[in-house]
Each structure stands twice: as structure tokens, then as C-alpha cells.
């Protein structure tokens, strides 16, 4: 079953390359939406069905932690899994985000197969 994915990152180049890597990985993707911060991400999810969010952490206006809080408080969005994609490779940051409701955590740089495996784990896709 193909999944609709939302990529959230304030860097347009990074959004493009994540979509590119996602395509290279062979992940079964239907739609791929883009947002440049948490506010845009929330607006997109209220307009379109999204199965999974891939989100940066450090963003202007509403960052990744703010996005997790807003989604948790919204009954319609609370169940949408979020995988954080960040350059911060420290375990403290990963633990903090997971405790706030993130379902997965990927550190840049990452291989296409790593990304696919993490998304399929979160979506409980059986290989």
C-alpha cells in the first residue's frame, strides 16, 4: 500500500534531497507533500491525508518540537507518526524527541536503505 508522506524542513534543498533519497530507497510512496515549518505542516495535514511526517528539528516560526506538541493536542493529527530527521546526532536530543512523541529518529547523513527501514518500522510494514 503506497503511503503519503509530508517532508518538513526550512531548507528547500534539503526537502528536495530527502524526497530524492526517499525515491531512491524504493519506499512505496503515493503523494509527497512539502512544508517549510511546523505551521505549514499543520495546514497541509488539515487539508490532505498524510500517513507519515518526516520533520527537521530546528526551523523558524514553529520548530520540530512545537510541531510534535501541536499534533499531540489535535485529535485529528495525534495518531500521525512523525520521524525526526536532524543533523544533531547526540543521544540526548533523540531521547528528548522520542519522549515528546516522535516515533522515529534519523540522523543526517543517512543511506536510502536506512531511511526506508526506519519508515517501514514506524509504519509497521512487513517486508
Amino acid at each position: 500500500m503506497p503511503f503519503s508522506v509530508l517532508i518538513v524542513d526550512d531548507c528547500s534543498m534539503m526537502r528536495t534531497v530527502i524526497r530524492r533519497i526517499l525515491g531512491m530507497s524504493g519506499f512505496d510512496m503515493a503523494e509527497c507533500y512539502m512544508a517549510s515549518d511546523g505551521h505549514e505542516a499543520l495546514a497541509t495535514m488539515r487539508k490532505h491525508r498524510v500517513d507519515l511526517v518526516l520533520s527537521d528539528v530546528n526551523m523558524p516560526r514553529l520548530d520540530g518540537e512545537g510541531l510534535l506538541r501541536e499534533m499531540a493536542a489535535d485529535g485529528q493529527l495525534a495518531g500521525v507518526p512523525v520521524v525526526m530527521v536532524t543533523s544533531d546526532g547526540t543521544q540526548n536530543r533523540a531521547s528528548r524527541l522520542m519522549s515528546m512523541g516522535a516515533r522515529g529518529y534519523i540522523t543526517k547523513p543517512f543511506q536510502p536503505e536506512t531511511l526506508r527501514a526506519e519508515l517501514e518500522r514506524v509504519l509497521e510494514v512487513n517486508a
Binding site: 531548507c11 534543498m13 544533531d88 546526532g89 536530543r93 540522523t107 543526517k108 543511506q111
Partner: protein, 138 residues
Amino acid sequence: MTAADELLDSVVSDVLETMFFSGVFGPGTQTDGPHLAARVSFTGSHQGALEVAATEATARALAGSFLGVMEDEVPEGQAPALLGEMANVLCGAVLGRMEPQGRFLIAPPEAASGEDPGGVKHVFELAEGWLSVSWRVE
């Protein structure tokens, strides 16, 4: 070669190959002349900065590889953004390997003057040209 040198070399190779679809041939030589530079600063368990520099031609070629487009299709202004994003990814990767239990706040990338920020500096030879990476931690 010190541990800091080895860490920087290892991270640069991994990041370039994995996310920028490029590769390091070996040590390079920085040429005189105009170039672009981007820096990210960090605070927390340690403070410091990481800076990358390259000629505009090299940055455009790397941006093309990164985006999966021909070099002449790279949108205007994306070469400096490429170096900023590269500095951000390199900095996070270096900190994560140097101190996995650390707590850091990495500031957004900013354009830099290209002057030597001190600390460890390596110049790499890529297919696209030279790339300089400077790393300072306190």
C-alpha cells in the same frame, strides 16, 4: 594525524558520499581567488564553530549533485545555501561522534568571510574542486 584530524576526515567522507553524492579523492590545495564560505556555531557541552569554503563553481557542482540536476539547472542562490546545509550536517555529525552523550544547540548556517577561523583545517580534493573544512571546538 590526531584524533581530531581523523574524525574530521571520516565525517567529511561519509557526509559527502552519503548525502552529497560526491567523494573525497585525497588532500587538496586551496586556490587563491574568490570563494564562498558558510559557518555554523554551536553551544552546549562545548562551544565552537565549523566552516566550509569552496569556489562558487565547486559549490554549484555540488548543489547539482545534491539536487540531482545538471549544474546549469541549479537555481540562482543555491550554491551558498548548499554550503550552509553542508556545514550544518557536518557539524552535527562531528558533534554526535565526538560526544554522543553531549547536549548541543547548533545555530542556523550563516555566510562567512572565509578567513581562517582557527582550529583544525583540512582541504579536500573532490571531483568538483577543492573543499575546505575548518573546525574549532573549545
